[in-house]
């Protein structure tokens, strides 16, 4: 968590999409998700706007991945609903799983050629966008973890979907690669895409996100821009906000479905 503890303050970078009015493209209404008797999400209502980068933060097991999968339409909620309000598109929502993996015997270019055969797009342009042009002929099995994630990021944007969901795009990467994933996410948002990503890197979230959703125990405990959250909690940084909003007094990992005694 060392990088999470370092803070940069609210960045002075330009807003992702300052030219056009942001419009809601994805809305969840009172979303609940349960696996058997274990409630993972409870009454989650969020609005995702076009041209913005929304970060979902929260401790391990807080329901981030479940929320992202439900928003991406990969899980059916047990209650509530997700509404896509964006423009008509061949592919409405792009998705990067937490641990992206591809067929090892294919090159990065061949991998994207497969996906662009499903939705029209230029695989070489996609590789260039994430900085993998020079690795076009490299087999997926020979890619580093960071390069695989960047390839996953390129895959998530195939077909230029109006919404892109990224599950911890920077997880396990070195600081440079991690920053690069946020830069790419911000570039997407600048181009008008609604980008939702989960992350534990609060410094990068504070620097790049337009909206932050703080999740704890499957519920949204706060939401707003990094500056708004800092003001609301009278905190100096997003790390302090996180500390105040979700810290458990006994410093134990929160296990959903297990009640506090």
């Amino acid at each position: 968590m060392s990088d999470s503890q370092s803070t940069t303050g609210v960045a002075s970078r330009p807003a992702a999409n300052s030219d056009s009015a942001a419009e809601p493209v994805l809305v969840s209404e009172q979303l609940s998700q349960a696996y058997g008797s274990v409630s993972v999400l409870s009454d989650v209502s969020v609005t995702i706007e076009s041209g913005t980068l929304t970060a979902v933060v929260g401790p391990n097991g807080s329901g981030k991945t479940t929320l992202l999968k439900t928003l991406a339409g990969l899980l059916s909620p047990t209650a509530g609903a997700v509404h896509y309000l964006g423009p008509d598109a061949e592919r409405e929502i792009g998705y990067l799983p937490q641990r992206p993996s591809f067929r090892p015997q294919f090159s990065t270019l061949e991998t994207l050629e497969f996906y662009t055969a499903l939705v029209d797009d230029d695989p070489e342009e996609l590789l260039a966008r994430v900085g993998l042009r020079d690795a076009a002929e490299r087999r997926v099995e020979a890619l580093s973890g960071g390069m695989t994630r960047l390839l996953g990021l390129a895959q998530a944007t195939v077909g230029d979907p109006p919404v892109v969901v990224l599950d911890e795009p920077g997880s396990g990467l070195d600081p440079t690669m991690r920053k690069r994933t946020f830069e790419v996410a911000h570039e997407l948002a600048t181009d008008g895409t609604a980008v939702i990503c989960s992350s534990h890197d609060l410094a990068l979230v504070e620097q790049w996100a337009d909206q932050v959703i703080v999740l704890d125990g499957g519920s949204v405990v706060d939401t707003g821009s990094p500056a708004k959250l800092c003001n609301h909690h009278d905190a100096d940084s997003l790390w302090d906000v996180f500390d105040i909003a979700v810290e458990k007094p006994d410093n134990q990992v929160a296990i959903l479905g297990v009640d506090d005694e």
């Binding site: 799983p97 992206p100 294919f106 499903l118 895959q155 077909g159």
Partner: protein, 268 residues
């Protein structure tokens, strides 16, 4: 065929071609096929060779189909690619069809190459004057062997579809392998044993035998070979099986298995 099915199928073909095990599978099929031909004491003719190859193919073809198919869907699932593909405008049925078509092409090539080489060998060594249109009973011809290859590939496609279904039902690679072996055991011997038990116990009467035999893929394949390959060249009044019900039985297994795979992936 739609472009999306073609794309999925092409990916499967390339995956098989680049897999290290594919060459071993091809060599294995070549070895068994030629081993049977050369070990056999029969005349190097089409009909005797088809007869000699029938039993080994009942073991070899399911084994090849299981080897080619058991990891297909479960690998995409464990890699998270099923989730990713769900965000693309590709229906589950098209995805399953694409996977099946791609693997089916690979299986067809892996079976056809060795058998075609045997066919060429027979064409050059057979003492029988080649008669390409075996329209009359009692005539051995290359067409008999071509029919045998076609039926063998069809049998392989049926077991491949069954294997893809269990790959879709499995939750891990290991369970996919176990379920694949169960399919192998059922196809090779299990269903035939059940039918045999039914006949011995009187549950299956003589009047139902040909129909019941078509329920077992191996029996249906064997029946089709007897009725459309061997009976062409050997005059006999004894009907081994009903070609129509045998073909319908195999087709039902194929389509039913693909339907099971589609429903299973849809519910993931």
């Amino acid at each position: 065929m739609s472009n999306k099915i073609q794309a999925v199928a092409a990916r499967e073909v390339v995956s098989v071609v680049r897999a290290r095990s594919t060459l071993a599978l091809l060599l294995g099929v070549l070895l068994v096929t030629f081993g049977v031909v050369f070990v056999s004491n029969a005349e190097p003719d089409y009909l005797p060779t088809a007869v000699d190859l029938l039993l080994p193919m009942e073991f070899l073809v399911p084994a090849l189909a299981v080897a080619l198919g058991y990891r297909t869907i479960i690998s995409d699932s464990t890699r998270g690619e099923l989730d990713v593909l769900a965000t693309y405008p590709v229906s589950v049925s098209r995805y399953i069809l694409g996977v099946f078509v791609g693997r089916a092409l690979a299986l067809t090539v892996l079976l056809t190459i060795p058998l075609a080489i045997v066919g060429v060998y027979l064409a050059t060594t057979s003492p029988t004057t080649p008669t390409f249109l075996a329209t009359h009973q009692g005539v051995d011809s290359p067409l008999i062997f071509v029919r045998f290859i076609g039926l063998t590939v069809f049998f392989g496609l049926v077991v491949l579809a069954m294997t893809i279904a269990v790959s879709a039902l499995a939750s891990t690679q290991r369970s996919a392998l176990v379920l694949g072996l169960v399919v192998l055991a059922l196809v090779i011997i299990g269903l035939d044993l059940l039918i045999l038990r039914g006949v011995a116990g009187g549950t299956v009467g003589d009047e139902w035998l040909t129909a019941v035999l078509s329920v077992s893929p191996t029996s249906a394949y064997r029946g089709l070979v007897f009725e459309t390959v061997l009976s062409t060249a050997v005059e006999t009044d004894l009907q081994q099986a009903s070609p129509v019900t045998s073909a319908a039985g195999l087709l039902s297994w194929l389509l039913g298995s693909l339907a099971v795979a589609t429903v299973s992936v849809s519910r993931r």
